[in-house]
Symmetry: D2
Subunit: 322 residues, 4 copies
């Protein structure tokens, strides 16, 4: 059994992680750290865990674990590791943004690998888990980037569910306000742009295109729906073949010729991509569950890779479908 | 023109009141008082008022008005009137609960009338505006109470939209949590029970039945959907005639023989009642918009009555329908 | 491996069943019968199955199976079995209503057992799977019925998600209409009343109380939220102990003292019950996912019992939570 | 009083039109034509009209009217006018697409004017009412087009509510499917592209830019949320001034410097535009209620112009806000 610790246990991402790990056949949860709620039952915060009354948050970080997932919020992982030194043989999977960019990827003797499984066959033992928008967008054009043929501007419009903003309360997170509502935020300047560029570069796109990205706050809780287009000289058939070949062995990235819709992936660790060429433009629609393939699911996928398990172990998650 | 002041201008109910008054042909808004946001444009808080850039909150209460609406939150109206004395000739319409019960209905020389227009033909000049649940439930059985034939237990189940809880932020008001969710609160003990009993008593029900009331927090923003039943010895035809006769001249209370659904009234000042007798039980389904007939709309209806206008003036409000 | 056939494969319930069975470690899907769409890929109908391109509907019913699930719609199971005779050693789990009542429970040499696992320790090999409303309501008072202390009227108000009405298209199933809307249907006459009464009777309630049941169509897709109350002479502590004792060994029925909310169970096979005694009234709030504990999940639970597996096999289903 | 006839009375747009006209002080509804439901009460179809029991659909088209609104669905207006000849002095306002393009704008002696009030000061007496997407998108760049400075590609992403697809039933319109879901349709090829180009051309943009348009089906009933961007050499201040000057006298088009959100306009006839220049790109967010400014509201605005009324007559519509 893999002994797992979780830090930052009260947030949405930690909740999802626990929901997955509770059904993972090779995992034993060793501790669920929370600075703010030590001693409190997990079921008081993640209320669907009424069937796990034995789980409690703790403020003690055990070093007798194989891997620690950091779900601390962006910018807090580094501080946590400084305050809670862990032996180098303990793997770290960081779900924050602290170690995603190459310039940030070293912490002491640890070197973090950007954990997009579809990008690389090898894997480090310390993982910077990709951002949610970044995952949906990177996968949308990874096959193109791998050929270095992303030569023209990329236009991205992506709608995210409310869980992407976490559990924090503010005027805009109020149910009465967000219901039946839409707005944009951080147009052309979302913080995931840098990791998207780096990932396509790693894949083979040495000269990066201009990226135009409009993120939208959607009227639902779960999922990211991204439409991505750029000019291409390839035909529809060529593009389809390129994508299908690229993702042939990926258990969680799939290519579709049909119209796709967000709920095909909500509740699962899948990314589904519809690709089509229309009048010289490649349009890719890319959908994921932001909390799963966009966070906790991908983190478990990375854990499976670190420990030599099949990538899919514990990750058959029933789609919510409705 | 009726000169209107509003106190407690930043809440949901005040927002609705302003939306109605902005289209009311006989009203001039004199001041919009807010303790917390004086000087701020109304459109910064009620964001749909971008077309009224001239409206600002003030912390000055002018006495040169004909009527003041109090939208202060329950228990704060009395204090407000103490701190901001208003001439007796200025009418007060209180949308809080301070003056609803008979034992609370006097403030200095003012006497407050419970402002359920369907209950009484006369009207005072100081009004305690009924609660939202209370309005839906009282109207459901007012014709029965008027005959004194509410002899058996009354069972009420009523589902409210999120706007019923106002703009306050708490864990449960978070969009991610409330979406697709339901819960009950204050079972058998909701604070509106007392005013419901008093109203039926005023209508003619001297001996009050036991009332069992389960309020439910719904997965939508606007509206109250109440199902109310009690035993009856009347036939379906008798009940239908009783209700139709009782509400014949009410412009905002209507009786239906067909299945009704909440959105028939959302966005309007109407109360719609479906009545049917099944196996000796009278079942009334009662629907209102909690912010309109349940609050701001009914308050304007009361203002119209005070100033001798047709009850419907400024209250044709297009249903949202979808 | 248990070889499974499914009849009526295109409906919502069959979709959920397939989603569970795809992750069940002891099951092999032998056929997915559909009269209307033979030869069509399952992923064309249940669109989240893009990762199972090999699954197709068939109009051939193989007899080389261990169990057949009937998901045909109410009243069609009997006809199906007449037209597609199956060997007696093949178990039948009927998700329709055909065999639920004792008077309907025999078909040829088969005798159907009402498949509420929490009611009985033994199990037949042919199962009439309980209705969704029936499941939520029966479990709400089963401990009381087991003591024969349901002596006074029972009042039930239950709100169901849209999936309860299946995939059929009609004016009311239109998104634009049902969104933000509510209505009641079949007041005091829902077709599940008979099986509820029989179940409580089987549990030990020889003299059945009067049942008043108002079903409500909710503004969400998944789940049933039922509030159930009746008079009781027991104290809060006594009731709590009774319920906790009764469900102590049930893996999918749980008792809570805290306020509960629907999404604690959506996506799972759990039933969660909040019990409280207020002024001589026992109030039970009962929540389930109508497609899981209310249909496909409970059916798999019954399958596990038939074949001697732990009841929970393949039924750890991650809550959707948000 | 303006005597009004409506053809195609049972659809969503006709319903909205009736809701507006019922509160319009200068209008008398002469007939509500429906081929399919003559004799039926309007309240049986548009169920919020329970307070107008006297309104019934008819299959007779009276010629004793001043204006007829055609709400027939795209392509059916021409046929209707052929089958029901109306005197030339009766104005026609067509809410379908039949007469929107210049090449289609003549029918017998009638010449149809494209009825975007913000584009032209004069008005014909026969109006082709703009499409819903077209309205939101045209207004987003009309000031730029009026200067002929739309020189570079235009990128549009627009999310529409379900009412945009009308009342027709199909698999995708099912509540259980569309809830919490998103999909795109007609990428780069929506039928409104031609009228958008013509409108910008009429405004002054002789050389049209390439337009890239992705329409998205949203998870809500009402509204269009469009984000539109293109390169510009203007500064933020210059653009803001251009837009504010252009729309200064428009009662229903407004310019904002703040973040905007869809519900600021839902329920009203307003279009609200947020404009900003970021790194040489002009980004305009444009929001309307698709059934109001995008259809029935704009049609009444056009009627007001035809008959010399203030444009705003009968068009103060309370925002739904929540």
């Amino acid at each position: 059994m893999i002994r797992v610790g979780i830090a930052g246990g009260t947030g949405y991402v930690a909740g999802e992680l626990l929901r997955i790990l509770a059904g993972h056949p090779e995992v034993e949860v060793a501790f669920i750290y929370s600075h703010s709620q030590p001693g409190v039952a997990v079921s008081k915060v993640h209320r669907d865990f009424f069937f796990k009354p034995e789980w409690h948050f703790t403020d003690t970080v055990s070093t007798d674990v194989d891997v620690v997932f950091l779900c601390l919020g962006h910018g807090l992982s580094r501080t946590f590791l400084e305050n809670h030194p862990l032996p180098n043989e303990v793997s770290i999977i960081d779900l924050g943004s602290d170690f995603r960019l190459k310039e940030d990827a070293v912490f002491g003797e640890r070197e973090f690998t950007y954990g997009l499984a579809e990008l690389s066959t090898s894997n480090g033992k310390n993982i910077a888990n990709p951002g949610c928008f970044a995952t949906a967008i990177e996968l949308a054009l990874l096959p193109m980037a791998s050929k270095g043929i992303l030569t023209d501007s990329v236009h991205i419009h992506a709608i995210t569910g409310s869980t992407g903003a976490g559990a924090s309360l503010n005027e805009y997170s109020h149910f009465s306000r967000r219901l039946n509502n839409l707005s944009i935020y951080k147009p052309f300047s979302h913080q995931h742009l840098a990791e998207i560029g780096e990932t396509w570069n790693t894949a083979g796109q040495t000269q990066l295109p201009e990226i135009h990205f409009i993120p939208v706050k959607g009227d639902f809780a779960r999922g990211i729906f991204a439409s991505v287009y750029t000019n291409t000289s390839l035909s529809n058939e060529e593009v389809l073949k390129l994508f299908q070949d690229y993702y042939r062995d990926s258990p969680f990235a799939h290519v579709s010729e049909d119209i796709i819709e967000l709920k095909q992936v909500v509740g699962t660790n899948h990314c589904l991509l519809q690709v089509q060429v229309i009048d010289g433009k490649l349009l890719v629609t890319s959908i994921i569950d932001n909390l799963l393939k966009g966070a906790a699911g991908q983190a478990v996928q990375n854990m499976n890779r670190i420990f030599g398990l099949p990538e899919t172990t514990g990750l058959y998650l029933k789609s919510i479908a409705f």
